[in-house]
Amino acid sequence: MSREYNTDYIAGLIGLIITLFFKYFQEDVNRLSIMFPNAIIIILGCTSVSLIIKGFIKPTRSTLFDVGSNIRWIVTGLLFFGWVIAIPFLGFLVSTISFFALIVFYLSRTQLKVTKGRFLIWLGVIVVEVLFFYLIFAKVLHAPLPEGMFI
């Protein structure tokens, strides 16, 4: 059975860390620019402390990250970040086709065995799909796309 955690306490703690982070980085600006953010920092801090106190008095308990594989969502997230970081270097088309294929390859292994032939067919589908998005955005809607070394 999965372990249950005091989520009030954890949420309050996260809120408090964010409050302190924003308070620490608060710039020295004029009253008009800071009066509203100051009020919000106080509200966020008070809410966080209240949640921590609630966590001690009447805690809400639930399991955390208990759906499926944690490794899988973390790796997928890292691939998303890698994809975005690669765009300015490789260009939109090259990076998107590469990372799209990587994600498909990684995630598909949970459901079926990826053979060379199957992957080549997928690669064709990926190229067509990415080109479709590219043409719609760049040529039809004239929306600028991120640029890099290649296309």
């Binding site: 989520t7 009030d8 949420a11 309050g12 996260i14 809120g15 964010i18 924003f22 608060q26 710039e27 600006v29 004029n30 008009l32 620019s33 009066m35 509203f36 953010p37 919000i40 920092i41 509200i43 966020l44 809410t47 966080s48 209240s50 949640l51 809400t60 639930s62 955390l64 990250f65 759906v67 499926g68 594989s69 944690n70 899988r72 969502w73 997928t76 997230g77 998303f80 975005v84 765009i87 300015p88 998107t96 799209f100 994600i103 498909v104 995630l107 598909s108 949970t110 459901q111 997928w122 589908v125 799909e129 998005f133 955005f137 809607l141 004239h142 929306a143 600028p144 796309l145 991120p146």
Partner: protein, 509 residues
Amino acid sequence: MLFDAIGQLMQPVIILAIFAGVTAGLLVGAMPGLTATMALAVLLPFTFTLPPLLGLVALGAVYMGAIYGGSFAAILVNTPGTPSSIATAFEGWPLAKQGRALEAISVATISSAVGGIAGVLFLLLLSPPLARLSLKFGPAEYFWVAVLGLTLIASVSEQSLWKGWLGGALGMLIGTIGVAPIGGETRFIFELPVLQGGVEMIVALIGLFVLPELYMMAARGESALGAVDINSHRQASFWSAVKKVFSMPVNLIRSCIIGEIIAIIPGAGGNIANLVAYSEAKRASKTPEKFGTGTLEGLVATESSNNVTVAGSMVPLLTLGIPGAPPDAVILGVMLLHGLRPGIELFTTSGTLTYAFIISMGLAAIAMIPVGLYGGRLIYRVIFRTPYYFLVPTIALATILGSYAFRNSITDVVIMLILGTLGYILKQVGIAPAPIVLGLILGSIAEMGYVQAMLSGLAEPHPIIRLFVNPLSYILIVMILFSMAWPYITSVYRRLKNRPQQETESNHE
């Protein structure tokens, strides 16, 4: 004049423009990150060479289709296609997970069409008095409207009210990053110049709503929709949806009125209307506990109210020249381009053209029914049959494009990813994305209203008094107090109602 206008609309080319506009709007609105404003801005150059009526009709149809199109992504992938369909995701996505996506799309289509037609009727009948009311809104009233909106956090908090407030405050704080709206200095940029532009609402919206779902799909190893049984097509048929929508007339009328009132306030459009209408539907419901689990009541409220704002927000635009919502600014540009100046002349000298434009939006609302019902089924089939390992990167690609397209900034895409990952972690501890987004949207309106009110009261001994001088402020304050007290009032009422029952049961024992 009205009959002349109807006569002008009965041309094949106008009818074609309406259908083409609705289809184009639907496709753009269904893409997360592409808003109605962007759809109009992108299609604007195509209307330059068209005659004034044809250009305005096409843009009005695109606007109507885009607001409605946002519901597709909200229902099928839990991603509001536009900010106007945030609350649609609260009910549409749970319905889709129950295998009722087609039913949800049909109900959303009929509700949107009803909302669109209601907005046109409001515009035709109530333009002058509503325009006068909108003029009475000053900084203090904007501040109170934002506070009223923030009381909705109670409705959109999934687990605990405290966590909802924490999320709301966090959203408001994220909204303060960048240049101050008044004062002009940068705040919380953490010595990173790229943050000077702040966090765009659309970018945060995409990250907070989409990424957690993608992570969830990746963790589970299957699509959330792939594992459910599909409901029968009979449940999703046109007549079945019509019956369902009209079986809740009070909800429908209330949501349309809310949509109209919010639409006439300049700056507040469908993004606020759908949340307020959803919250009020929940408050008035006999089964509020079912909200968030896939109830049609919520879906009808949000989809009817947001489409009312399309024509509704034209009230201040056509009468005073004030765009009621951002997409209206684009339409104002087209009007000015063709020499049409907002004001009384628009309803007299150019009356035929103006009335034809207004009525064409009603026709666009009707055109949404065939386009939406067929288009919706097609999009649903594509999403349902796509394996999850293709769906995850495809949606990710759309989110990357959507976040980038807004300001052509790769920083926005990185911010979207960071917020989405943070949103997934916060969701695990019970802080839902909806209050964060609500705080982000309303925080900036509240700040602007608050600081402007303080500035206007500098000559007073206590500047804060400026927040309490207009009778409209009093009405809004009463509404806020009522809204905050409502959960407690209903809880006391239920306890009192159950007491005699419990006493009778204990006497029997």
